[in-house]
């Protein structure tokens, strides 16, 4: 007989069929039956699904909160916040210049309010800026075309004054506008600090980015190649 025929013979005869079990088999099966609460797996499955829905809802809520936090300008500038002022290390409070010549103020000075404290004479004036979210931007060196920084003051210090109640910005200002606004107020902050003789309450060192220093060096080399003095690139001001 062909092997395929042999396989087919047994497959057709024995693939489907019935055999009567012994009568006592049911008792053995019934002994191993689950209890009436056989729906427990379904319940646990429902519970697992409920946890999944809860986890998904939590993720959605967290994402919505994060999105709102990012989009809200008040998150960047809280109602009570400090005004950052930039000072130069070279002109530290120990050497305030008596004569303050005209220095390039690239942006009009904001409203200035003296802080009402007992030792007001020894404390610097607290400067309150106009409502703008730009006040919370970090200090950046502005482009050299606008205000070439003195290489003697690569290290800046930033003083945190007392918090003031300021109006919240009505509409968010783009990030690049915030940076540009702060950079333009560097010398305003320097002048404001020099006019005072008090020690800064909190100082935070801000290092000039390496890219900016490299650009300064490149500019100096370019000036030397043109047989010009580096000071010709500096703004007309005296330190």
């Amino acid at each position: 007989m062909n092997p395929q025929d042999l396989d087919k013979l047994f497959r057709d005869a024995l693939s489907e069929g019935r055999a009567q079990p012994r009568p006592d088999s049911w008792a053995r099966v019934a002994a191993g039956l689950p209890s009436a609460a056989s729906n427990a797996p379904a319940k646990s499955k429902r519970r697992v699904l409920w946890y999944r829905y809860a986890a998904a809802a939590s993720v959605v809520l967290a994402a919505a909160g994060l999105w709102r936090t990012i989009q809200s300008p008040s998150a960047v500038a809280p109602p009570n916040h400090a005004v950052l002022e930039l000072i130069t290390e070279a002109n530290a409070p120990s050497a305030p210049s008596a004569a303050q010549p005209n220095r390039p103020v690239l942006q009009p000075e904001p409203t200035t309010v003296d802080r009402p404290e007992p030792s007001a004479a020894a404390l610097p004036p607290v400067r309150t800026e106009a409502p703008s979210s730009s006040k919370w931007a970090l200090a950046y060196l502005e482009p050299l075309e606008r205000s070439v920084q003195d290489d003697a003051v690569p290290l800046l210090k930033r003083r945190v004054a007392a918090p003031q109640d300021l109006a919240v910005a009505e509409k968010p200002v783009p990030r690049y506008r915030q940076l540009a606004s702060d950079v333009s107020q560097v010398w305003t902050a320097v002048n404001a600090y020099r006019s005072s003789e008090a020690q800064p309450q909190v100082t935070v060192e801000v290092h000039v980015p390496a890219g900016v220093l490299q650009r300064v060096q490149q500019t100096k080399m370019l000036a030397q190649n043109f047989n010009q003095s580096w000071s010709t690139f500096l703004p007309k001001r005296s330190l």
Binding site: L6, D7, E16, R18, A19, Q20, S25
Partner: protein
């Protein structure tokens, strides 16, 4: 729709009469499958009971009742193979196989006779022949199920066919 469909809901609710009705409808099929893998009737019965117990335990997780017979058949085959593996059945040589022919009937197409011939096969041959010729497994699947190589599966299938052909020839002579 077959009658056993109607007992699934009651079985899920834990009704004993519905569970018994479902058992009585499906257990003969399972026992028939198990008997093809064991020479001993009691071992086939034990495999059937384990399969039916597993079915009642897994019944809440079975989504499609129409697939229950196929699921039962696969489960029964797996139970039989597990039991055979547990016994670590030695692969009997062809000469060790009983060749009595005493249980044969006069009709080759008698299902009972063919079942008896099949159950007289050595365990190793019977498993491979069942899986390949009746269940439709490939040699790769058989090798994975039984933990043997494909070459072993092929050789055992060939020897099982030889053994069966010789037995069937004896029937014709008789």
């Amino acid at each position: 729709m077959e009658a056993w469909y109607t007992h699934i809901h009651g079985s899920l609710l834990g009704q004993l009469d519905a569970q018994r009705a479902l058992y009585e409808a499906l257990a003969p099929r399972v026992l028939h499958t198990c008997k093809r893998y064991f020479a001993d009737e009691a071992e086939a019965e034990d495999a059937m009971i384990r399969t039916m117990t597993t079915m009642f335990q897994q019944l809440p997780t079975i989504r499609e009742p129409k697939a229950l017979p196929a699921w039962l058949r696969r489960t029964a085959v797996n139970e039989c193979l597990m039991e055979l593996r547990k016994r670590k059945t030695e692969r009997a040589e062809l000469s060790e196989a009983p060749d009595t022919g005493t249980s044969a009937t006069d009709s080759l197409h008698d299902r009972e006779a063919l079942m008896e011939v099949l159950r007289q096969l050595p365990d190793g041959y019977r498993s491979v022949f069942n899986l390949y010729a009746i269940e439709g497994y490939s040699h790769a699947e058989i090798a994975e199920q039984l933990g043997i190589s494909e070459a072993t599966s092929k050789s055992q299938l060939s020897r099982a066919r030889q053994w069966l052909q010789r037995r069937l020839a004896n029937f014709k002579v008789q």
